[in-house]
Amino acid sequence: MSVWRAIAAAALVSAAPALLAGEIPPDARRSGYSFMGPDTRAMQDDDTSNPGMLFVLDGEQLWGKKTGSADKACANCHGDARSSMKGVAARHPAFDKTLDRPVTLDQRINLCRANHQQAAPLPYESRDLLALSAYVAHQSRGAAITAGDDPQAKPFVDQGRELFMQREGQLNLACTNCHDDNFDKRLAGAPITQGQPTGYPLYRLEWQTLGSLERRLRSCMSGVRAQAYEYGSPELVALELYLMSRARGLPMETPAVRP
């Protein structure tokens, strides 16, 4: 069976010359959902039992709540998130012209707080930031990922790809060694996925809470015994951007549930 997959993959690679060596062709890209067991899938599928929806509900409250010295709520500028935020998470990290670099959805929320609400930034992985980003990203559920399409983001996508390919840590492993070369195999009993970030922020059963893609990346880095990059660092943003561009076309699932 693996021989057949190799042949099929080779055929696809030759048919799509734009792909770089080792990359997963578009129609072979699979959400982490497809690697899960039926019980975890069921937990994600039903909004009344998906624990990530608790955060989406909290985010909906925060969306309408005035904050900062400007005394403005997100809703005062953006109106109904269900229409105004549709597709927004699918194109983040997005290039910011003023800053001349890509920003993640979390950073975008905090930029809004600083510039328009005159409020203090929400700490990474804080409940309020996760709730707001979950609520915003939930509006993109089903939308195809387009992050990285902006030509201005190209150098940062390339930087992220380099980081993805670069071996690191005491185990001397690169992201690509597991997530391009060995997905569908198992590591200590757990399936290795393609690492497609389709459902962030997502509810991880291990965390027993919602968490960001940066938290997941940092935990992978400590897994290979590497020093993890800081939250919001240019390296993590570039990796996040590359991962999203690598998942191009896959539908958003926020809030996903993963083991």
Binding site: D47, T48, S49, P51, M53, L54, F55, L57, D58, Q61, R127, Q208, T209
Partner: protein, 105 residues
């Protein structure tokens, strides 16, 4: 913080209906330690009660082995239109409530 309550909006008299609740709570076991060796004190929901038009129809005693953000599903017979009231009680004086209404025809 949020709770998700799922009760059918309508039912026929005599129908057996499923009620599902999911509530935000850390459910700290009291068995974990911080990096510097201090025990993280227990902080869990210990009791959940559901009342249907004032009568208790379901109760659960919860222990640290219940996962964070407790999920509960149970059944009852739809008798009359009215209200389901939910109450979660826990350590450190924790208490939260919720409600849902049903129309029984």
């Amino acid at each position: 913080m949020a709770a998700l309550i799922n009760v059918p909006a309508k039912a026929r008299r005599g129908d057996v209906i499923e009620i599902r609740t999911l509530t935000s709570h850390i459910m700290e076991t009291g068995f974990r330690h911080t990096a510097d060796g201090k025990l993280v004190p227990r902080d869990i929901i210990t009791s959940f009660t559901c009342r249907y038009n004032g009568t208790e129809i379901f109760r659960a005693d919860l222990f640290p082995a219940i996962a964070a953000n407790p999920y509960l599903s149970f059944f009852t017979v739809a008798k009359d239109s009215g209200t389901f009231e939910f109450e979660w009680i826990g350590d450190n004086g924790y208490s939260s409530t919720g409600s849902a209404s049903i129309t029984v025809e």
